[in-house]
Symmetry: C2
Subunit: 249 residues, 2 copies
């Protein structure tokens, strides 16, 4: 049977999932999507994602590829998948036919994340599990300035999870922008790829700066130490959103 490779742009609320990847201990986004593919096509179809998001992490623009038996148009593909994805909070925003050489993971040249902090005294209502609640006042401007110490190519060992499987701790961070919008602080980061927990570890460290406990120089020192214990704590998963992936061509 001939197959067509598809590129799917996928949005999900990560709160009810064990993460992107199949796991023994609960429902993953990948399982929800592969079950919808099975219901739509009658075939067991494997999916590959640009980023294997952790439990509780959200996506606005995860990219996934898979090979599906031919003769299906883009509208039937996205509408059919969305129909079978119910009631999971997962939606296919776009379905496009791509060459067999396209890999959601290997062809990616840039990934971007947004980390949302709600900085206010009152506990969260709408944003429960959708953002990190920080009650102590944070200075977003100081966080932004300190974040610039992380831009460029560095050994990011200080911001790397113990379980990280990357061969090298060297990564190039292209952008780190911290913006305040009312009670919300949004951290935008952009790089070819990230180490495991790198964004959450960087945000957890910058929160120390925002609270006035750390300076920009402390962040640079922590980075240079190449030691996880030198940097700040890991910010919670619920604030992290996988926003977009860029590909060449």
């Amino acid at each position: 049977m001939t197959t067509q490779r598809w590129k799917l742009t996928v949005e999900y609320d990560g709160s009810p999932f064990v993460g992107w990847q199949w796991q023994e201990n609960g429902m993953s986004v990948q399982q929800a999507l592969e079950e919808a593919l099975f219901k739509l096509t009658g075939q067991e179809i494997r999916t590959t994602a640009a980023g294997r998001t952790d439990a509780g992490v959200h996506a606005r623009g995860q990219v996934v590829h898979c090979d599906v038996p031919k003769n299906r148009d883009a509208k039937a593909m996205s509408e059919g998948l969305n129909f079978h994805l119910k009631p999971h909070p997962v939606a296919v925003l776009q379905a496009e036919m791509v060459p067999d050489s396209f890999s959601a993971r290997m062809s990616a040249v840039e990934r971007s994340y947004c980390y949302r902090i709600i900085n206010r005294a009152a506990p969260l209502t709408f944003e429960q599990n959708r953002a990190w609640w920080v009650a102590r006042p944070l200075k977003a401007k100081a966080m932004h300035e300190a974040a610039q110490a992380l831009i460029g190519t560095h050994d990011f060992t200080s911001f790397r999870a113990a379980e990280c499987q990357a061969k090298s701790p060297l990564k190039t961070l292209d952008e780190f922008k911290v913006e305040q919008d009312g009670e919300e602080i949004r951290c935008y980061v952009r790089a070819r790829s990230f180490l495991h927990h790198q964004v959450r570890n960087m945000v957890g460290t910058l929160a120390l700066v925002g609270a006035g406990k750390w300076s920009k120089a402390d962040v640079a020192t922590a980075l240079a130490a190449c030691n996880r214990a030198s940097a700040g704590p890991t910010a919670p998963a619920c604030g992290l959103y996988f926003m977009a992936v860029k590909y060449t061509d």
Copy 2:
């Protein structure tokens, strides 16, 4: 025992509630708040709200008053209530002492609502129960223009729920703004007060304009008919947010 009158600004996700008001058939926001007041003070304290929102309707700035035994400061009041409100998605954003003459309901001179529509082909993930999902493309600009036919003092019988208990169907609508922000369409309305379901009935009618089925003149004709059957359907509760209340002084 002497009491102090408090003005509470309250935010809630309306999805799990039967509405603001106590009801036999489930948990109301009022019940959640009065139970928190009881846990905090040991007293049964009644609350009065500026707007009795329906089941599933949200609030960003509901205003409530209540009389509480004296000698409690504003910080202890809001933090204590927020502690006891858990795990309900209800938060006290602000607690202020006010004169006994203040009434959250009777002293209000202006109420504002926002109605959120997500207009896209893909089903909702993050916004499930938080916005009205409309898959067919809507023209926000046409909706905005047609909405201007509703501004001013009119008999709003065509947009009034059958169960509405207001003595008169005459209301003065001060503002109706429809704005597009990416895939989201937001309707902002402002008036001294509204009839039951008035905002949802107006939005449901404007959605017909957005879809190209109705013109601005059709909206004016529906208003002039003073007959509920002449206007469009009621937009779902989940898109409606009670935003703010204004008081004199």
